[in-house]
């Protein structure tokens, strides 16, 4: 197996072992109900994390997604509360806003040559501020169409429900996998992660790709916001604080190199599921406190970053071996 797939395999293995361990302790955890809830509860995080995966593979970071989710929720709630616009139209409108928002951040990162970290920090402040300006209070959403969407689900064998938003997350992941690994845009994203100057020399449209990556992240954050508002039936400007950190953690646990250039969209899904599994376990256990989630995720982050470092070291020494072998074969000749 290629070393590049090792982090992904490790993630998958950890997930399977963890799930097996949970199952041994709580046999109820192996049911489509739990799986369905796992997908539904983490739908908004998963969708946002797909965008984050692209951003991180390209060597950037997007700190704004939590705020964008909150902004989207508040925007929808306020618009649906105070106007007669149909939710679908509101969805289109808000997606246009968040996509543009991401695109503008990408343009600033590219044209002003500033670190993504600080630019998206400004975006984070701005989006959260706009959410506050729209409403400081939590605004409930009562709309028949929302009720209709929330009622849509597919009953899986065993009684679990694959809800619309859970299904949407899975669909977004599938689309993300194709986009990352089977399109030219995807290869440009990896190319940027390998090094912007080189990518530029090789003819990658750096400006267009950078803007598209952050626009994609903005779009998916907006979509995550829509999902979040369906999930909570409300818009609240203080919601989804720190979601960007969870998304980054899921991406890294999913085997994507935080320094960019290598990664898997599918791995992010497993990362999300691992994090969801920890929470589900804590709920099943009932005595453990929720802060253990943070500590365990921190530990997982640490071990995966360490694993990636080890792989880099290993491949470097591989190359040294290669070089020595080359020299030896020459000496013999």
């Amino acid at each position: 197996m290629k070393a590049r797939f090792l982090p992904l395999a490790a993630t998958l293995l950890i997930f399977l072992i963890a799930y097996a361990a949970c199952y041994l302790q709580y046999p109820n955890m192996l049911s489509t109900r739990v799986v369905g809830n796992l997908l539904t509860d983490n739908a908004f995080l998963g969708i946002a994390a797909v965008g984050m995966t692209f951003v991180i593979i390209s060597g950037g970071i997007d700190l704004s997604i939590g705020s964008v989710i909150a902004f989207t929720g508040v925007f929808l709630a306020v618009v649906l509360d105070s106007t007669a616009i149909h939710p679908l139209a509101a969805f289109v409108l808000v997606l246009a806003i968040t996509t543009t928002f991401g695109g503008v951040m990408g343009a600033i990162i590219h044209y002003l040559e500033m670190p993504a970290f600080i630019v998206t920090l400004a975006g984070m402040f701005l989006a959260r501020g706009m959410a506050y300006v729209l409403s400081v209070e939590s605004v409930p959403i009562h709309h028949d169409f929302y009720g209709l969407l929330q009622g849509l689900y597919y009953r899986m064998p065993g009684g679990g429900r694959l809800t619309l938003i859970g299904g949407l997350m899975v669909a977004v992941f599938l689309a993300g996998i194709l986009l990352a690994h089977r399109t030219r845009f995807g290869s440009y994203v990896f190319a940027l992660g390998g090094g912007v100057p080189t990518a530029r020399l090789m003819g990658v449209p750096v400006a267009r790709t950078t803007i598209a990556i952050y626009a994609l992240s903005g779009f998916l954050a907006g979509l995550a916001g829509i999902v979040f508002s369906l999930y909570t039936s409300a818009g609240y400007s203080l919601a989804a604080v720190g979601v960007e950190l969870d998304a980054i953690a899921a991406v890294v646990i999913g085997g994507t190199l935080l320094t960019g250039g290598a990664g898997f969209v599918a791995g992010t899904l497993i990362g999300i599921l691992i994090m969801g599994l920890i929470q589900t376990y804590i709920i099943f256990d009932g005595t453990l406190s929720s802060w253990w989630t943070k500590i365990v995720i921190g530990l997982l982050l640490f071990s995966f970053i360490l694993l990636q470092k080890a792989l880099v070291w290993a491949s470097e020494s591989d190359r040294a071996v290669l070089r020595r072998r080359l020299l030896r074969s020459k000496a013999l000749r």
């Binding site: 970290f117 300006v133 020399l201 802060w291 921190g298 640490f302």
Partner: protein
């Protein structure tokens, strides 16, 4: 000596102008802004308030400046504040003396810093990655200490640190001024400043010069952890309790912003603690100004975003190049009267793709 002082002063001009402008605006919307009263042995007034409320960010900015100068970043300071607050609260709640509690909190902060430094310097992780780990896990650790609740205390000595006054000034103000002065003196009166800058610009070359960059990095992150611990203690003392969830939440971003406003590059190298402290005060003046002017506080974030954008534009390499280009025709002939042999290499490097 005078020339050096002038050069140093010129370094602070943008920050001083920004601060003066914001203070003037504040005075405009709130005429009593510069009024200061003396009551019950301490000074009161909006300006004092700015200095007092800005203490946590100012403290964080001290350590953050050093970390950023080494081409690093410390995302964990907010979480470290929560840990230190939890430690100090748990220790005094357990009946220990104030000195012991403070010692424990400081030790916790330094330990967190050393952990970050270990990941960065020894394991060679990217700073943003390394400190992210503690940023995520740190609040969990703090909650572990407070057992999920807001751990309150009623220790007068500790509360004095947060809300007491000495010589007319609130304790937090005195603490950040003292720590800022101490660290500035420590790095500038010794060779530490130069060694930190060298390490930040080119770590490999610095190591080859015989600089012990490993110890230097460990120390810098430890200082950052210590500053975060002090800030954490002040916040806990101020609200008379440790709130693991909210103490220092997002302050790491304000601290980074303060350093950036202070003109230290996120790419490491030349740094100025004083300018970062000015940056912290600029941020706090804006916060206070918005509060005073009756604007809803929610505008705060939007204004911060606007500031970042303005600074980004000013510091952007692309804009710098444009600026150099615009002013070059008039200045260059006087600056370089003759082309030195081999010096044409320099202009070539300007156009190299980043």
């Amino acid at each position: 000596m005078i020339a050096a002082a002038q050069a140093a002063l010129r370094r602070f001009v943008p920050q001083l102008i920004a601060l003066a402008t914001i203070l003037a605006l504040n005075a405009l919307v709130f005429p009593g802004f510069f009024d200061i009263e003396f009551q019950n042995g301490r000074l009161y007034g909006s300006v004092v308030d700015v200095l007092n409320r800005g203490a946590p960010v100012a403290l964080l900015a001290i350590g953050m400046t050093l970390v950023i100068a080494t081409k690093g970043i410390d995302l964990s300071v907010g979480a470290v504040m929560a840990i230190a607050g939890a430690v100090v609260a748990a220790t005094v709640a357990g009946g220990a003396s104030l000195a012991t509690a403070l010692l424990f909190a400081a030790a916790a902060g330094i330990a967190c810093g050393l952990w970050n430094g270990f990941l960065v310097a020894v394991l060679g992780m990217q700073p943003i990655v390394a400190t992210l780990i503690l940023m995520v896990a740190g609040r969990g650790i703090a909650q572990l200490i407070t057992e999920g609740a807001i751990l309150t205390f009623n220790h007068q000595g500790l509360i004095f640190i947060g809300s007491g006054a000495f010589a007319g000034l609130p304790m937090p103000v005195l603490i950040w001024l003292a720590l800022g002065a101490a660290v500035t003196l420590a790095v500038r009166r010794s060779a530490l400043g130069m060694l930190i800058e060298a390490t930040g610009i080119n770590r490999r070359a610095s190591t080859l010069c015989g600089i012990n960059s490993l110890v230097l990095l460990l120390a810098v992150y430890a200082v950052s952890g210590f500053c975060a611990a002090v800030a954490g203690v002040i916040i806990a003392a101020d609200i008379k309790g440790a709130d693991a969830n909210n103490a220092g939440l997002w302050l790491e971003l304000d601290a980074i912003l303060a350093v950036v406003i202070g003109g230290t590059s996120l790419l490491g190298g030349r740094f100025s603690i004083v300018a970062s402290l000015l940056g912290a005060m600029i941020i706090q003046s804006i916060n206070t100004g918005i509060l005073l002017s009756g604007f809803p506080p929610e505008f705060n974030l939007i204004i911060k975003a606007a500031i970042i954008v303005v600074i980004l534009v000013m510091q952007s390499p692309a804009v710098q190049t444009l600026y150099d280009f615009l002013r070059s025709p008039s200045e260059v002939p006087t600056e370089t009267p003759r082309q030195l042999p081999g010096e044409a290499e320099a202009p070539e490097s300007l156009g190299r793709p980043q």
